[in-house]
Symmetry: C2
Subunit: 432 residues, 2 copies
């Protein structure tokens, strides 16, 4: 077991240096990462071959094995990502509020790094590079814990990133790798040194983290996404959106798990849906109203709260829009939910009252993604409501500070009336 306290202290020290770095230096580090990864690819691939062999011997499921593999194609994607990230605007230093408080006293709210972030992610090794590079671009230090199947690959990748940072004069400790569950447990205790934990995983896993740390947690948990087919839906559009949301890729958090159908349109819509879903080999489960219209298995209460991540869909007929909204707010995970309708008033009510990070009108839930949203890259999709919500890009890795520039102003002068508040909004960047 590593000395997590020492590691966290080293991260903190690296974070101070990163906070004072300029964007040219941070971008140079990103480009150096791409260079070092390419130059070290034989070492990385060899480590990955060992990881994959061991995982194969341990009978890891095929989709997981394919995510674990890291060869030329993934290296090319990862280095292209680094080069694209280097071109994005600096998320740090932007002035987001500027106000003259009284004569000669200017207040600026400035975006700044959070500091030290602990990220726990699944066995995809490319995630390590994505997360570490987003952290560095936004001036943060990271403690990284990946899936244990990818241990050797992650170690090789992390070493490359650390070397690249050092090459451009930045601290290698901006990224440090944790290797065991005990490391994670020890990390959760370092609330004096670590500012934020980002766990990617199941609801249970995110809850475990929350229960065992006083460090703020931005959970990236289940996606129980819904499509609601309103009575005013175009049935053809509804079928294609449902099929895309469910079956375009079943293993992702933005795939639909439950389809809600207004009772007035169920008789027309469900018989059209059936063959389209059958063609994609989707197993259908439904309530009694659904079973009365098309041949499906019976859905149970547990189905409404299940993230299948598979070719399975539960279908529920609802009385009206209100019932659909209530169902989603009760069983959903606050990820992404869609209404298909040509009724703008219904769409508006749905989008205001459904309490999810993404509320969609007439479009597949599969669009919930940081790249798709135009953020260039993402740390993940936050399912909480505090700080960052939905696809979380560079902005989610920043906080802000208030800079107040004066010339000797005193509160005693304000209280005595010697000086008055002006509260004049300014349209300028902070000069310091």
């Amino acid at each position: 077991m590593k000395d997590l306290h020492q590691m966290a202290a080293a991260s903190r020290k690296a974070a101070w240096a990163l906070a004072a770095s300029d964007i040219q230096q941070r971008n140079a580090a990103l480009l150096a990462m791409a260079r070092v990864l390419n130059a070290s690819k034989e070492t990385i691939f060899a480590a990955n071959v060992q990881d994959v062999e061991e995982a194969t011997a341990a009978n890891l499921a095929a989709p997981l094995l394919s995510r674990l593999k890291f060869r030329e194609e993934k290296l090319a994607a990862v280095t292209a990502g680094l080069e694209a990230l280097a071109k994005l605007d600096d998320p740090i230093g932007k002035t987001t509020y500027a106000c003259e408080l009284t004569e000669g006293l200017q207040l600026y709210r400035i975006a700044c790094p959070i500091g030290v972030i602990g990220v726990i992610f699944e066995s995809r090794p490319d995630a390590l590079v994505q997360i570490a590079s987003l952290a560095l671009k936004s001036g943060n230090a990271v403690l990284l814990k990946g899936g244990r199947e990818a241990l050797r690959t992650n170690a090789a990748l992390c070493e490359c990133l650390r070397q690249a940072a050092e090459e451009v004069g930045m601290p290698a400790d901006f990224a440090q790798l944790l290797t065991t569950r005990e490391d994670v447990a020890a990390m959760l205790k370092e609330d004096e040194l670590i500012d934020l934990i980002i766990p990617r995983g199941s609801n249970e896993f995110v809850r475990y983290i929350m229960d065992n740390s006083r460090i703020p947690v931005l959970g990236h948990a289940d996606g129980i996404c819904h499509v609601y087919v309103d009575k005013a839906a175009d049935p053809d559009m509804a079928v294609s959106i449902a099929v895309d949301s469910k079956a375009q890729n079943v293993a992702v958090c933005n795939a639909m798990e439950t389809l809600l159908v207004h009772e007035d349109i169920a008789g027309e819509f469900l018989p059209r849906l059936l063959p389209a879903m059958q063609q994609k080999n989707v197993r259908l489960l439904g309530d009694e109203a659904v079973q009365a219209i098309i041949p499906v298995e019976a859905a149970t209460e547990a189905d409404w709260a299940t993230e299948y991540l598979d070719y399975v869909l539960s279908i529920h007929v609802v009385k009206d829009l209100d019932a659909a909204i209530e169902h989603i707010n009760h069983y959903g995970s606050g990820h992404t939910d869609c209404i298909v309708t040509s009724d703008e008033a219904a769409a508006k009510a749905f989008m205001i009252r459904v309490d999810s990070a993404g509320v969609y009108h007439n479009v597949s839930t599969r669009f919930a993604d940081g790249f798709v949203y135009g953020f260039g890259a993402e740390v993940g999709i936050a399912t909480g409501k505090i700080h960052a919500r939905g696809p979380m890009g560079l902005e989610g890795l920043t906080t802000y500070k208030y800079k107040l520039l004066g010339s000797g102003q005193l509160m005693a002068e304000m209280k005595s009336g010697e000086r008055q508040y002006t509260h004049r909004l300014l349209d300028e960047e902070c000069p310091l």
Copy 2:
């Protein structure tokens, strides 16, 4: 003990209604609150008289007694605050990002309420009205727990606010009062129904809350604020800023607790500081370097981490700017810290590297306040780094959701290349 689960469920239901309310209705509720409070003032004052009598009998300290008293003057301040709040812009519904993702598919990021917020605050009854009204203005429901000395006053005030909400057709349960510590403990378990806890109090209290809940916590804890007198400081300005920061009001979180002085200026500055602080009856503690220059008591290690909230100041001589920054980042509470200097490079380094919500140049720390910052009102001053930092106004009580407006777009079309991403930033409000 109340049934907190039932109360939290009622808050959640009220929150759905608030999220769907319009700003005219929320502003009408604020004005109704002012009306009902004025109309019920005899009841409120009578309740307060009982609270004050009981607290007097229990020997409550004089400053706390004065904070507990709620009579004409405070009622006038509170109703004026409600009327001012009604005039502020709607914090809900603003579009903060708009982007065309592909032809006919528009993404909008929209400010929306957080939902249900639990707030635990001290014995000042006016805080109840301030917090509840900020919550309503931003579309949130609140569970309120005030100091137990103010129980009767708080109950009378809360009843007025609930009645006012009902008068304009909004749910009375937007505000509900908790009365015991057991209520608080029960509230902390309702993570399925409550979105955020805001505890105002000591570091220990905030830590207790964090340790006992998986609900996100925005702590409003200690203020260990520093003034650093740089070698390039104007000594007269440094003296007046130090006196104002320490003694203008000692009982507040933005008062200075520790003064740091560059060794090159200590011999000139400290003898000027001494009489100014003596005139305000401030007791001075210092390290050995300070003691060698002016007559002060010895400061111990514990002093650097103490929030006195009293006429006491610890003074530490530092070797240079780096040492000052390190001291602040180590012992400070991340609240507000000031550098006095005429050297802009030193000011810039201080403001980037000091990891506090407020970093000030040549101005008293006493300016760290939501009203002063131009936010109209504040829930408190957040000492964490996630979501909201520093004085927390209406904006801190909001989150956002992504609205995606389409016309049947599918991910399969994007993957096949049938459609292309445009990622064209839009300068428009969301139409839905």
